[in-house]
């Protein structure tokens, strides 16, 4: 019985092997749908149809069209050749078919992409390897200086990166912005890719255009895993970038408390002043990182915190009570560590208001007033809620206000010139440079029935001045 089965199986295999060439050819013929082809009378029809066949992965058609006279290096309005189109449509059979006709391999499209760059960006490792083996330049750079290995590293295509390195891709080639492949992998948080690059010979201390090493970039992104890998390979953890910031300063500035703990755990030379004189505590103060300042103190990183302003805000607002009104402008300077600052300004009346003054019991005078108030004082902000670039802040103020200005109309009487305390509370919606605010103040001016509780509403615009600038790496060729 089993002998019969074996004989039958063998016969079946032989029949299939005999028929296989015909079956294969038939499949290609069936797939060769020419319905979308450009009519033959159209100028350049053969070339266009070759591109269509390339996009549809039809190797038989590609051979036929090239034999019929289609130009294998023709290109469309985007500068895409049939080879680029076949790669773009992830058509491996079409790529192989085109490569048999010796096309140029490193042609650029108008978007500065070659077939290999496209294959890498699409993570088509097989196609990329086929192209390299056919002679495509493995270190070819686009108009921004980025090579295939840059893109593989940025996108975290580990197998692709390993393959490119195997075919002698240069890991330390820098793009136009000074970024090497390892910088890109670290910037994107691609741990495995970074490890592949390091094992492929990448320079771990290589500097980008801002003098950042991969370790410094990892610190600025709070990536302790990559920092740990780099440290295990022996990189200099105390290196500084061109702005004189070391890894700890960057981790502090960008608010990565876990990275700060990690760095404090692996090094003990962090309290040395940078050439600009900024201690870690000073950096924490400068960026208002109170939580990190506490971590630093716990780790016996001490130092003085010098108050410094990093923000100036100009505000315009209306200030009104039941029968009185002022418009005003103010200037505030904010200290980031205390989240507080000083403010000063001026309130004036854009138009006259009629105010009631009690001269004698039961006898009132209604005067026309156009006085002004100058004020100065302190404020303290409390961040209630925060989103990237937006904050809801409650601000408390204590001001000293001095009333002065014109005499009441038609009289020699002036509003009482006096210095008064003006406590207030304001809610601010801050969106980067612009803030909208509304609040209330207590200010007794002594007029009848105007009330002492004032409402305020307005907007402000903030200017940031940074004596200790930090930059988080941004890939400019992505």
């Amino acid at each position: 019985m089993s002998e019969n089965v074996n004989i039958l199986q063998l016969s079946a295999v032989l029949v299939l092997l005999t028929l296989f060439p015909f079956v294969s050819a038939a499949q290609d013929n069936v797939a060769a749908d020419t319905a979308g082809y450009v009519p033959s009378w159209y100028a350049g029809a053969l070339d266009y149809n070759l591109m269509i066949a390339a996009s549809r992965d039809l190797p038989g058609e590609i051979d036929r069209l090239i034999r019929a006279g289609a130009d294998v290096n023709s290109y469309n309005e985007d500068g895409s050749t049939p080879l680029i189109i076949a790669v773009d449509y992830n058509s491996p059979e079409a790529v192989r078919a085109i490569l048999k006709h010796s096309p140029t391999l490193d042609d650029f499209t108008v978007n500065s992409e070659t077939a290999l760059l496209i294959a890498v960006k699409k993570n088509s490792t097989g196609i990329a390897e086929t192209l390299i083996r056919a002679g495509a330049t493995v270190n070819i750079a686009d108009s921004r200086g980025a090579t295939p290995l840059h893109y593989a590293s940025l996108y975290g295509y580990d197998e692709m990166a390993a393959m490119l390195l195997y075919y002698s891709a240069q890991p330390d080639t820098k793009a136009g912005d000074g970024t090497a492949a390892l910088h890109a992998a670290v910037c994107a948080g691609n741990v495995e890719t970074a490890d592949i690059l390091i094992n492929g010979g990448a320079n771990m201390e290589i500097r980008d255009g801002d003098g950042n090493t991969p370790f410094l970039i990892a610190a600025s992104f709070g990536d302790t895993v990559i920092m740990d890998i780099l440290r295990s390979y022996g990189v200099d953890i105390y290196s500084k970038n061109s702005l004189n910031h070391n890894a700890l300063a960057l981790a502090i500035a960008f608010g990565h408390s876990e990275s700060v703990r990690y760095l404090l755990g692996i090094g003990d030379r962090w309290n040395e002043n940078s050439p600009s004189g900024n201690t870690p505590l000073q950096v924490a103060a400068r960026y208002g990182r109170r939580d990190i300042a506490a971590i630093l103190r716990e780790a016996n990183i001490h130092g003085t915190v010098k108050p410094s302003f990093n923000q100036a805000s100009l505000s315009m607002y209306a200030r009104f009570t039941r029968h009185n009104f002022y418009s005003g402008f103010g200037l505030s300077l904010r200290e980031p560590y205390l989240n507080a600052g000083i403010t000063a300004g001026f309130n004036a009346k854009l138009w006259e208001t009629r105010l009631l003054v009690e001269q004698l019991p039961g006898s009132y005078y209604q005067y026309i007033d156009k006085s002004a108030i100058a004020f100065a004082g302190l404020f303290k902000d409390f961040t209630v809620a925060g989103l990237p670039g937006r904050q809801l802040v409650v601000s408390t103020t204590l001001l000293a206000g001095y009333t002065f200005g014109n005499k009441f109309k038609g009289t020699e009487i002036s509003p009482e010139r006096k210095l008064t305390a003006i406590p207030g509370i304001t809610v601010k919606w801050v969106a980067r440079h612009v803030a909208l605010f509304a609040g209330t103040e207590w200010h007794n001016l002594g007029y009848c029935k105007t009330g002492s509780v004032w409402a305020t509403a307005g907007l402000s615009y903030s200017f940031y001045f940074d004596s200790m600038p930090v930059k988080q790496k941004r890939i400019k060729w992505n």
Binding site: M316, H323, S327, L350, W351, E352, R354, L356, E358, G362, S363, Y364, Y365, Q366, Y367, I368, F408, K409, G410, T411, E412, C448, K449, Y461
Partner: protein, 139 residues
Amino acid sequence: MKRLFLPLFNLAVMLVMSCEDTGLSTDCSECMSYEPVTARIEVQIDAGNEHGTLVQFWEGKLEDGIMIDSVRYFSTAVFEKELPLNRLYTITATYVIDGKTYTAVDSATPKTKYDKNSCDEPCYNIYGNTVNLKLKYTN
């Protein structure tokens, strides 16, 4: 910020100027072909009670104490009084409401402006001749 500055500045100027009779524009319907030497001061008052509203005209400021006229009005009115130009007049209106006395104070310096071009004929216009003595609120 720069784009915001000009509109905000213009708005501020308009707000400041809108409530003041600065004589910047010429009212052709009020044109006079000769140069006036007096102006009619337009006085707005509230209705008084049965005692009426005492309106007093003072030359100069209130403290100067030079009273020109004193009239009691018994109705809500806008009334006018002819007075020489280019002098400061302070006008008061005294109301008695619920046993309390309220005195509203305002002043005016009527002036004239000559405009050759804005109207059909050259014209003299009077401005700064309105006072508002209505009570905004009481205690």
